[in-house]
């Protein structure tokens, strides 16, 4: 029983291994980059625009609105990171329709890598917004005793991000595989549909949680005018 696309190896040469996770990640990257490049070659400002440009504008403004609703007042700064996260995860989930495709997020390596990106991005954006001193001071708020708990919570929510996404995607693939051996008629199709839904929801959750963490780290704290709770 194959637990993850890590075990499907296409080619290996000594130390380097090309497994299904890497190959499908490259395919997704290629698809996203090439399609964006092709669609944004001739952008038009007026009302007459191609439908692909319309689609991209809908997606980008939708993501911008979501980021603004989370509490980040200047969404353009974070649109690159959060938008890419959402688009990659959404495409990885939706492409399970294509036969022979295994979502690369069904491997713990991919989800850990993405969670580590968020783990690095949160202090990065926090320092860019607030400065190093202010950001480090936010770890000892509200009291000094909270310092170890704040540090632990940083690590644990990174771990939770990785395991949540991995668990959802892996379980989707595995349920379909198991059902195919038991009831190979209509039930696996229903479970594949459910897998599509959970893929989209988990992509949204991952990006929104990343946005919430960044918002918590970049919130300029007003000096003692009002007591505000963190989160």
């Amino acid at each position: 029983m194959r637990l993850s696309p890590d075990e499907m190896i296409f080619w290996h040469h000594g130390f380097l291994k090309l497994n299904a996770t890497i190959v499908f990640t490259w395919v997704l990257m290629f698809a996203l980059a090439v399609s964006s490049k092709l669609i944004t070659r001739k952008l038009s400002h007026g009302l007459k625009r191609s439908r692909w440009q319309n689609l991209l504008e809908m997606i980008v403004t939708g993501i911008e609105k979501q980021i603004k609703e989370v509490g980040l007042s200047q969404p353009q700064k974070y649109l690159g990171f959060l938008g890419t996260l959402f688009l990659f995860l959404a495409l990885a989930g939706v492409c399970t329709i294509i036969p022979g495709y295994e979502p690369p997020t069904a491997s713990l390596s991919t989800t850990t890598a993405l969670a580590l990106c968020v783990f690095v991005a949160v202090p990065f954006f926090g320092v860019v917004e607030q400065g190093v001193g202010n950001y480090l001071k936010s770890y000892v708020k509200p009291t000094f005793i909270m310092l170890p708990f704040n540090i632990i919570s940083e690590f644990s929510r990174t771990l939770a991000l990785a395991v949540r996404l991995f668990g959802n995607m892996m379980s989707g693939a595995m349920i379909v595989a198991i059902l195919l051996t038991i009831v190979p008629f209509i039930f696996p199709i229903i479970m594949t549909l459910l897998g599509l839904l959970t893929g989209m929801v988990q992509a949204y959750i991952f990006s929104i949680l990343a946005a919430v963490y960044i918002a918590a780290a970049t919130r300029i704290r007003k000096p003692k005018l009002e007591p505000e709770a963190k989160h």
């Binding site: 637990l3 979501q66 668990g167 892996m170 379980s171 929801v201 988990q202 959750i205």
Partner: protein, 91 residues
């Protein structure tokens, strides 16, 4: 009973119990969350976008505890280090 049998029995039983008990708590919590969300949607339908989004985020957070239990069960069944160790020691 030798080590191999003990490890096998423990892994199988605990894998079943982990998923069985681990999904009860999140299911109850999610039911309560959806019930509260529905009643607040009925009270204030124009806040439905915010309520729906917050509901989904909350549901995903609750779901993650169930996912942790599922991952532990999967590890016990398919990637069990104790079983692998005992199998390679018995060869």
């Amino acid at each position: 009973m030798d080590n191999m049998t003990l490890i096998a029995i423990a892994s199988i039983v605990i894998a079943g119990i982990t998923t069985g008990f681990g999904t009860m708590g999140p299911a109850l919590a999610e039911g309560r969350a959806v019930a509260t969300a529905l009643s607040s949607l009925a009270q204030q339908p124009d806040a439905s976008a915010t309520i729906t989004r917050t509901l989904f985020v909350g549901l995903a957070m609750i779901e993650s505890t169930a996912i942790y239990c599922f991952v532990v069960s999967m590890i016990l069944i398919f990637a069990n280090p104790f079983w692998n160790h005992v199998i390679t020691a018995g060869k």
